[in-house]
Point group: C2
């Protein structure tokens, strides 16, 4: 029997399911943890979402997601801070300490990467005290460089660690998502550094499929279907001391179109075969 | 009058043109340099290609391209070396010292990035003496990480410089192609390093278009059409001491479908507006 005690279903993987359906699917499959997206939580209602997850006996491994901190205008910046504070409160209500941040890309028409990155740092500084006061860690997620312009100007783990460095490890962490970072020639040393610095807040697994999907956001694949060496990266994460939940988050039209229970069954198989032996 | 004395047309930009048409197009437009692709050279015949470029009074800024060095089997490795030696001889015949290498991705079915990168280093070591003996510099081109698995496992300028480090600067250089590296948080310091180390062999400009094209290879855009800050990157290149030709290499279906002379006219306008003032 494989040990699924660290496996978590990110609700994006079973996109067509409501939160209740995803919770029920986890329970049926013996998966002990769930990583909900905020839109699914909002549909269910925050209190109801928290209760249904708690009643099912599931852990919440993280909340996806806050971020989008790069607005250039005061109104946009105020709105982003307000939304992120709300996300912090949702994390508290759901009982997770880990709030993912996808930091955002260039403002409309902007080309100044350095200025946009500085705004990320500025907004982070404003957000940390509120999150820390509520016991929530802001989890900086480096995204694949193909999304740098429009989703996240944090593209490498090293960059995320640099941005996190001024803050206590309980306040700001980093996520390692195999899809986003597998190509990075610095990956091993930056995972070692992240471990040494106590910053690894989440490990997410999914594959990098080729060819890249026509909608580049949907190139995430089931572990084993793409090019990623899960044995090596997972061993680096293990050696860095990470013992938390391992989330599976896949954006992929074919997987979204499939039966949710079958997706979870495949996910368990691939996790047991490719990830768990090295975790 | 703008100064186009450093502008070079990479023949991929006018893909439907034969080499002769591209040469004629450069002459008509007053562009003094050309960066041919090997397939266009082969169509024309090497000696004929060299003669037509020479007769037109054009410089050859570089030859695209050798590389694809990651074969895992001895036959594949021997074939790659043979092809790259041939490319060196073609560069000599064309009168350029700069041979681009797109180093290749994972072998079929392979997932071991570290082993594949080691094979790049091994093949490079075998190729350098031959290239150097012929006065040709091997130009390592970092490609955008979205092409890491299937085209080039060199994804950053820093990684290219590390790979070049064991060799004389006349033997191995690096290319800076704005499309591939604009997102890199280390870009400024690595361009500074490349200048300090005397490794910048080529500066190529084209934009990064959004959304990413359905065929991800074709997301390259005319300068000004995408997200890239040419002023900043070009100034970094200038401050690093680069005074060579600036090539425009664009893979883009819409541009390929357009009239070649019009493409070159737009290229000159955009170069004069966005690149030249900072070069």
């Amino acid at each position: 029997m494989s040990d699924f005690s660290r496996l978590s279903l990110n609700t994006a993987t079973t996109k067509k399911w409501t939160l209740q359906q995803a919770v029920d699917g986890c329970v049926r499959a013996g998966i002990p943890a769930i990583g909900p997206w905020r839109d699914r939580v909002a549909e269910a209602g925050l209190e109801n979402a928290a209760r249904m997850i708690r009643d099912a006996g599931l852990r919440v491994s993280s909340l996806c997601r806050g971020g989008f901190l790069t607005a250039a205008d005061p109104e946009g910046q105020a709105a982003a801070l307000q939304d992120n504070r709300q996300a912090v409160l949702e994390a508290v209500a759901l009982g997770t300490s880990e709030l993912f941040l996808v930091v955002g890309g260039l403002a409309p028409g902007e080309k100044d990467v350095l200025a946009a990155r500085q705004r990320v740092a500025d907004r982070l500084a404003e957000l940390v005290p509120f999150a820390s006061a509520h016991g929530v860690r802001l989890v900086l997620e480096p995204l694949h460089p193909m999304y740098a312009a429009d989703r996240a100007l944090i593209s490498t783990l090293g960059q995320a660690l640099d941005l996190a460095a001024p803050y206590p490890v309980e306040a700001v962490g980093v996520a390692v998502d195999t899809f986003h970072v597998w190509w990075d020639p610095e990956l091993k040393v930056q995972i070692e550094r992240a471990g040494r610095e106590g910053r690894i807040a989440s490990y997410q697994v999914c594959d990098f499929n080729l060819p890249i999907a026509a909608d580049a956001l949907l190139s995430r694949g089931m572990m084993g279907d793409g090019v990623i060496d899960f044995a090596t990266i997972t061993a680096w994460i293990r050696d860095a001391g990470f013992t938390g939940d391992i989330e599976v988050e896949i954006f992929n039209q074919e997987i979204w179109d499939a039966d949710g229970d079958e997706v979870i069954a495949t996910m368990k198989e691939r996790y047991a075969e490719l990830v768990l032996p090295h975790a």
